[in-house]
Subunit: 159 residues, 2 copies
């Protein structure tokens, strides 16, 4: 299968300057804000996205320079397959987050529930559609034991 | 920002041979099965993924050869920004779906809730983690009016 060439469509500006700054609860924090700046030529692509409460952000883990097939996640010392964890050290280094849209101003999209580091290259934005993207009766493998009773660890993610 | 080069990590084999074959309800269908075949060198990357009920599949819209900044989605005749719809004709042509894992056998992952066409190049698989990926109180913009009372259109997606 041939190679696929992509180009960043913008950049993510985050208050987290290093991987170790990102708390696990970052994903649930509504008081830390970041913004996406899309290239000027894509401004019209944002039309009507402000009518959604959340969006999917797909980005490039630019700080990772290795690929592991198995790895230890944040949260525990067990080894799992790379496709069963969210580590950045994965084939193609694609990152994925669901974030909460705050507002869109020109080519800037401000959001909370931040878990990316500063200056992350942006690959795509999609509307988060509950009918497609939310699921009930979800079993989350090795992660379930870490989130019992709705508790969230205060460790850092160390992505 | 420089280009980013990716390589498919496998391929998706689906009963849907053409875009027009994919029903919107495909995402909700548990009786249509497809499978992912990852390259042999990534088999160990699947370890423990079978303990999850769902996974995120990131792929390449290989049938699209154009980019539109605005577009009309399936379901309605209104024009929206490309980042507010799920059209394949987007910058970088990245596709995203949440699917239901049925079983993993060697380098094959069988799944339902299929909405990809046959022989789609695979870029990544991630575990679907309800604590990160599910959201309540979601507003889904222009889509909400099409899913009132839990109704799902029987149109095709025409991706």
């Amino acid at each position: 299968m041939p190679q696929i060439v992509m180009y960043p469509i913008g950049k993510i500006y985050s208050p987290y300057k290093k991987s170790k700054d990102i708390p696990i609860q970052g994903r649930f924090k509504d008081d830390v804000e970041a913004f996406i700046e899309v290239k000027k030529k894509y401004i019209k692509g944002l039309k009507d996205l402000d009518k959604f409460s959340h969006c999917i952000v797909i980005y490039y883990f630019h700080k990772s320079n290795k690929i592991t097939i198995k790895g230890k996640p944040f949260l525990e010392d067990e080894t799992h397959g790379i496709f069963a964890i969210r580590s950045p050290h994965r084939p193609n280094h694609i990152g994925f987050s669901v974030v909460k849209i705050q507002r869109i101003e020109g080519n800037k999209l401000y959001f909370t529930q931040v878990d990316m580091i500063d200056r992350t290259p942006l690959l795509d934005i999609k509307p988060y559609v509950k009918y497609f993207d939310s699921r009930e009766d979800v079993v989350s493998g090795w992660l379930d034991k870490h989130f019992q009773n709705g508790e969230i660890s205060d460790k850092t993610i160390i992505k």
